[in-house]
């Protein structure tokens, strides 16, 4: 099966080259695409100089729009599996073969989770609080257990690639899409992995925004859980 790694990048000049080098070290022949979300630093120049496969968004769309571009690219180029990975070095490419294997075994969606083994970087206290809250909502409404609801390290099969290419939330999309997938009876599995603290760059979420996001995303998760079978 053909696999594509989707790497959204916004101002990642310090990490992107290392991330791609790492990726090629672990998965020699895998296809990847970097989505440069109109970075204001030298991310694009670095990608061009190193001849990375990059899609350059002419206008900043935010993380959801960037990732969706990757899914659209995967759909148009008929990839069977899409793996979503951060550009900042938090996600170790050595887990990619495992993610692919789980999809090949017949799962629809695989999430890399840092909470199964409870090893590696465990995120900040408040973020964990949010993650657990979303996890609880999903559990209550769909009876499915997803521990790491905000993990951006995920793999999707063809059906979900098509779905995401048509509709994807705009900002902070992971919890909402997880809820939606759980609600619509796709087969989800979580695999344990260690995540690192970011190499460079800063989180896209500032403290002031985080409360607003927590509530907004909570509501979105709730809606995704209640509303069944949105147009797919």
């Amino acid at each position: 099966m053909r696999s594509l790694v989707i790497i959204p990048a916004y101002n990642e000049e310090g990490a992107i080259a290392e991330t791609i080098k790492n990726l090629k070290k672990h998965c020699k022949d895998i296809d990847y695409v970097i989505i440069n979300d109109c970075s204001i630093d030298n991310t694009l120049e670095i990608c061009r100089k190193n001849e990375f496969n990059v899609i350059n968004l002419p206008i900043n769309l935010g993380i959801g729009g960037a990732v969706q571009t990757g899914y659209k690219y995967a759909y148009e180029n008929r990839y069977d599996i899409a793996i979503q990975m951060d550009a900042d070095g938090q996600h170790d490419p050595k887990y990619i073969p495992e993610l692919i294997k789980k999809i090949e075994e017949g799962n629809d969606f695989v999430i890399g989770s840092r909470f199964i083994d409870k090893s590696g970087f465990q995120s900040t206290f408040f973020r964990r609080l949010g993650i657990n809250l979303y996890s609880l909502i999903i559990k209550l409404f769909t009876k499915k257990s997803i521990k790491d609801t905000t993990s951006g390290y995920r793999a999707a099969n063809k059906k979900i690639i098509e779905m995401f290419s048509k509709s994807y939330p705009i900002d902070y999309p992971e919890p909402e899409t997880n809820a939606f997938i759980a609600k619509n009876n796709f087969k989800i599995v979580e695999i344990p992995m260690k995540m690192k603290q970011r190499d460079s760059g800063s989180s896209s979420i500032t403290p002031i925004k985080s409360i607003y996001y927590a509530i907004k995303v909570g509501l979105a998760v709730l809606l995704a859980c209640i509303v069944k079978n949105r147009e797919v």
Partner: protein, 124 residues
């Protein structure tokens, strides 16, 4: 309502309707929204010419002052229009997003093709 207020209302709404027609004629406003605002204007014009409409409505909804009934109805209408605009706006955002994404994917494709053509022409 006294007569002066009535005349002012009739005058203003009449100008409002003319303005909407002129703007539409210059193609600055889509027909869809022309109908929306023209409807708004014509209803106001009717209320201004026949104030009894508002007086009767205020009796029906148990508002003592007809002017207050007018305010209430208009605030409600404005909220409906604002909500309608939010819907239109959301749709627009989605369309623009799709456009940006498709454009980015296409230009990446064109770039790759250009590179291939260049390599081919170098070979031959």
């Amino acid at each position: 309502m006294n007569n002066i207020l009535q005349f002012i209302l009739i005058g203003i709404t009449f100008l409002f309707c003319v303005f909407i027609l002129v703007v539409t004629q210059k193609r600055k406003l889509t027909y869809k929204y022309t109908f929306l605002w023209l409807f708004f204007g014509i209803v106001t014009l009717l209320c201004a010419i026949f104030p009894n409409i508002i007086i009767e409505i205020s009796k029906i909804i148990h508002v003592v002052e007809p002017t207050n009934a007018l305010f209430l109805i208009y605030i409600f209408l404005i909220i409906v229009i604002i909500f309608y605009l939010s819907l239109a706006f959301s749709k627009l955002v989605e369309k623009v997003t799709t456009l940006i994404q498709e454009n980015a994917i296409l230009s990446a494709k064109v770039e790759q093709l250009e590179k291939k053509v260049e390599e081919k022409s170098k070979e031959s």
